[in-house]
Amino acid sequence: MYDFIFKPFNEMTGADYKKVGFKSGLEIHQQLLTEKKLFCRCPAGKYTREFDAEILRHMRPTLSEMGVYDGTALMEFKTKKNIIYHIKRETVCTYEMDDTPPFLINEDALDIAIGIGMLYNCNVVDEIHIARKQYLDGSIPTGFQRTAIYALDGWIPYKDRKVKIVQMSIEEDSCREVSDIGHDRVYLTDRLGMPLIETVTEPAMKTPQEVAEVAWQCSKLVRSTQKVRRGMGAAREDVNVSVEGGTRVEIKGVPQITLIPLLTYNEAMRQWNLLRLREELKNRGITSETFKAESYDITKLLKKVHYAPLKNAADLGMKLSAVVLKGFKDLLHWQTQTDTYFSKEISDRVRVIACLTNIPNLIHSDSKSDTITSADWLKIKKFTNAADNDTMIIVWGSEDDVQTAVKEIIIRAKEATIGIPSETRQAMSDGTNGFERILPGADRMYPDTDLPPKKITKEKIQQIKSWLPEQFWKRIEWYIKLQIPKDTIEELSISPYAELFKKAVNDWKINPTTIAVFLIQYPKRLRKRGVTTEWLNESMFEEILKSYADKKIPQDALLTTFQTVAELGMFTEEVIQNPANEKEVDEMINSAKSDCYKMTIYNQNSKSILLMGMIMKKLRGKVPAKVIADKIGFSNK
């Protein structure tokens, strides 16, 4: 079954992904554009790395409702991290510090969230209940995120099908991590508490490209409201990936949609290769029952080693341990992802759980790179009684950390005989991913006893409908019928001016193409000319279009008028040039003809073009070009 070998990314086909049973779904996090945070009145969206104060906390696992500790919770406690929060007075109050209970939910944020839910065709719940979702990594000082499901069961169109939206929740954003070195993890708190929605799709995507494309669809939907934040970090995707026989693994916090295809490809490959590794182990007779590993203290044995990391460790009085994985020879060099091997799975765990954050944090006998000498390996082999088909791993650090590391190495190696551990993994810039934490279960959800349930009233829904844009795919359908230029369709469908477009077409009866080009292309043309377009607002677009509809501005003067408005930063009646009367026109034509007559023109064919140009230069905006052309008998063929 596992005879398929992953090809390079560019060579993988839909059929290949079908072979491995690729399946992926999205959890899209999107910050909402509000003035204030979700559960306190701090300003939202003010980022700075500066800070006025810091506080120190520890996270302690609490019992779940079923009376057990959550798996992730326990792992985080194993790591015994000092969590340090950097606090900037302007962006953080005592709520974020977990020294004040929450204030009532930000209604603006809730309105935007519900509006987006409605665009996704979801059912909005009648009463929302705020829950606490535990996070013990310290990314939220309370140790939990306040979150609530407010919409369920929606869909978004994709190709010729509908991708189901399972649920939508509104929640507070977490801290930004500054560093995580040894036992100290440092966070910035400015982002903490900002309103965020999470949209969960069903795992309906069958190739990495489909995942990205659906993400784009969702991105367009939220942007069409004009009420979400943009820019780096404002939208972050968690991507769930599995292959046939694999496990749902979550790649957390992908900051850009363009990274998704390579990341999901690598995760699928990782799972597939780990399943192949399990087959290989089985062939070697190693199963979870027969799995064997031993550990040895080799601190004294390697006293005179030259390999720098080990030498430093020895100099610092650290402890060195060797773990022997029975029958694992060469398997630490088993490929998992692009240029990434099984040893990375183990090293990641040691880094996160045993807090051995200096890389390399372990070396092993399958490594082809230079570490310790073969004589030293031999020494260890003798000391540990390792056989030829065993693999040896060396790990170093403080006594406690090494103890945790040894346990974790053995746990991860043994997991290889079982399959793919349920994990959340972090996205790397090279398209691979690394271990972040064990995937938490439903055990970590608790109702928030600090806040009452909130009823979503009919009045609220009505009020939201009043500003909600039309679904962008419906707009696109209409645009296609109107035959507006293709390159304007997509942008216009999520543009803040889409409603203006509709009004101009339906009420003012302007040619749709003219409006589309005006709304979408003209601002770009002006920017190319170096004109600042930042000050343009909807009323300016509207005034110009209305004047155009009233025939106060001729078609060929649209762009110049627009430029004048952009440069002035306002629309006034003066930007509309008075139309020239017939006498002025005739005078201008005669004067141009006489100028033209004086010139030496070799190509007689271009004479009329030149003449037309000379006249238009003077009369543009005052007379439609067609009137001039008719008068001078110019036809532009």
């Binding site: 409702e65 020294d99 009648d126 209940h129 369920l152």
Partner: protein, 464 residues
């Protein structure tokens, strides 16, 4: 028709109750609810009694709860029943003959309870086994025995509980424990600390009150660390006084040991809410050691002798003076048979002139009136202004730098012993446990003002 057991529909009323009954779906039913807008799968939960009557609470398989409008429900399919029983795992608390024996007395509050989120009920995590299950570090410190005296919120503590608590402490000391920890809600912890300081005198061992500002069901809770600090204090410190042991800074760093008569809750929600007023705390405490920061505390002894004087007359009151207060506030206390009044006056201990006739009447009726300051820091000084002197003429007795709540507790305790106003006065003005101090040290009043460069520098440097 069969009788309806309302427990089966806990918290539901009105439309929601009718709907649940109509579809015969008691709470904990595993269901699929069909509505006009789609179907929802999950578990029907009890509803908070304060919530409205129009919604039904459903726990979805992913763990989130939602409320569904009862009127929209068309049908309910029932798959079964899954009642949750929230239980804290118990492990035997290990016994080590070499370790000191500490007794934990519980009165209620968040240090010794967990919330059952599904029902909203408070479930005590209190037996040694349960505590060991959630704070295993305690076993490294001592042999712990526990006794749940009461299960009340701190605001519901009263004379009955204070007396019972003092007597229980007496019993434990006579039995020979090496230290006592009292789990208590934080709101009135300083009241209880004060009364215990008077009721239990010359204790040979530490008596440590502890609570938490963030409940123990939260990962960021201060409960575990407070408990570790308090048990450490009870087990190894040589401070044989009634103390409050709570966070020093808001960071997880160290606890402070405050003298029971000088401590006050000063913030409604901060972890570091307890402060020693007008003095400095006795000591700091970390996970493994107690570091005194003053020397004038009562030392641990190795006998089992203790004086317990557990009496309280609750016909005493505190009056928090405000400008324009009318004399009827005082009159009503006199008319209702109160024996003593503690006034928290303005500034050095003042009230307005319109109150004088009422104060005069109090004197005539034999009601004791003591003056404290609502500034909390500083002494009552009634000689400085004429108003003060006038009031003393009217029989108002200055209570030095006793905190208003402490004066209240002490007055109730004094009246519990005698009705002789002279004797009461002698009891009131004779310091027993630091409630009145002869001098206020220059570092006894420190409320830093944020925004000042030197304060900001300090805050940045230390994790306060």
């Amino acid at each position: 028709m069969a009788e309806i057991n309302l427990e089966d529909y806990k918290g539901y009323r009105g439309v929601a109750l009718n709907t649940l009954q109509k579809f015969k779906t008691p709470i904990w039913s595993d269901v699929e609810i069909l509505t006009e807008e789609g179907s929802f799968k999950g578990l029907i939960l009890p509803r908070s009694e304060t919530a409205d009557e129009f919604h039904i609470v459903l726990k979805m398989p992913i763990g989130y709860n939602i409320g569904i409008a009862a009127e929209k429900i068309k049908d309910v399919k029932i798959f079964g029943r899954k009642e949750a029983h929230y239980k804290i795992p118990e492990k035997d608390f290990p016994y080590d003959p070499k370790k000191p024996n500490v007794k934990l007395l519980g009165t209620g509050g968040t240090i010794a309870s967990r919330l059952d989120y599904r029902t909203g009920a408070v479930i005590p995590a209190f037996s040694p086994g349960e505590l060991y299950g959630s704070v295993p570090e305690l076993a490294d410190i001592c042999n712990l025995d526990t006794e749940k005296l009461y299960g009340v919120f701190s605001e519901n503590m009263g004379p009955e509980q204070w007396i019972g608590l003092a007597e229980a402490i007496g019993r434990e000391i006579e039995k020979g424990v090496q230290g006592i920890v009292i789990g208590h809600g934080t709101d009135t912890m300083h009241h209880t600390a004060a009364i215990l300081s008077f009721m239990v005198q010359d204790s040979p061992v530490p008596i440590v009150m502890v609570g938490s500002q963030r409940s123990s069901d939260r990962p960021s809770s201060d409960a575990a660390l407070n408990l570790i600090h308090s048990v450490t204090t009870a087990a190894i410190s040589d401070i044989a006084e009634v103390m409050v042991c709570m966070f020093g800074p808001t960071s997880d760093m160290y606890g402070l040991l405050h003298r029971g008569t000088r401590v006050r809750k000063m913030h409604s929600s901060y972890r570091s809410t307890f402060r020693t007023i007008g003095d400095i705390p006795i000591a700091t405490v970390s996970r493994d050691k107690v570091t005194p920061i003053r020397d004038d505390y009562k030392r641990r002894r190795f006998d089992n002798d203790v004086k317990v004087n557990a009496v309280f007359d609750d016909r005493v009151a505190i009056v928090y003076y405000y400008p324009n207060m009318k004399p009827d506030m005082i009159d009503s206390l006199i008319d209702n048979g109160y024996k003593g009044i503690v006034i928290a006056g303005t500034g050095l201990g003042h009230v307005n002139k319109p109150l004088y006739p009422a104060l005069k009447r109090a004197k005539e009726k034999g009601v004791a009136v003591y003056m404290t300051v609502q500034t909390l820091w500083g002494y009552v000084q009634m000689y400085v202004y004429d108003t003060g002197r006038d009031m003393m003429e009217l029989g108002v007795i200055p209570a030095a730098n006793m905190l208003p709540e402490v004066a209240y507790m002490k007055l109730g305790w004094a009246f519990g012993q005698t009705d002789d106003l002279e004797k009461v006065k002698e009891i009131m003005l004779t310091p027993i446990a630091g409630e009145i101090t002869e001098r206020e040290p220059s570092n006894g009043y420190l409320i830093y003002q944020g925004g000042l460069p030197e304060v900001e520098e300090f805050i940045k440097q230390y994790r306060k």
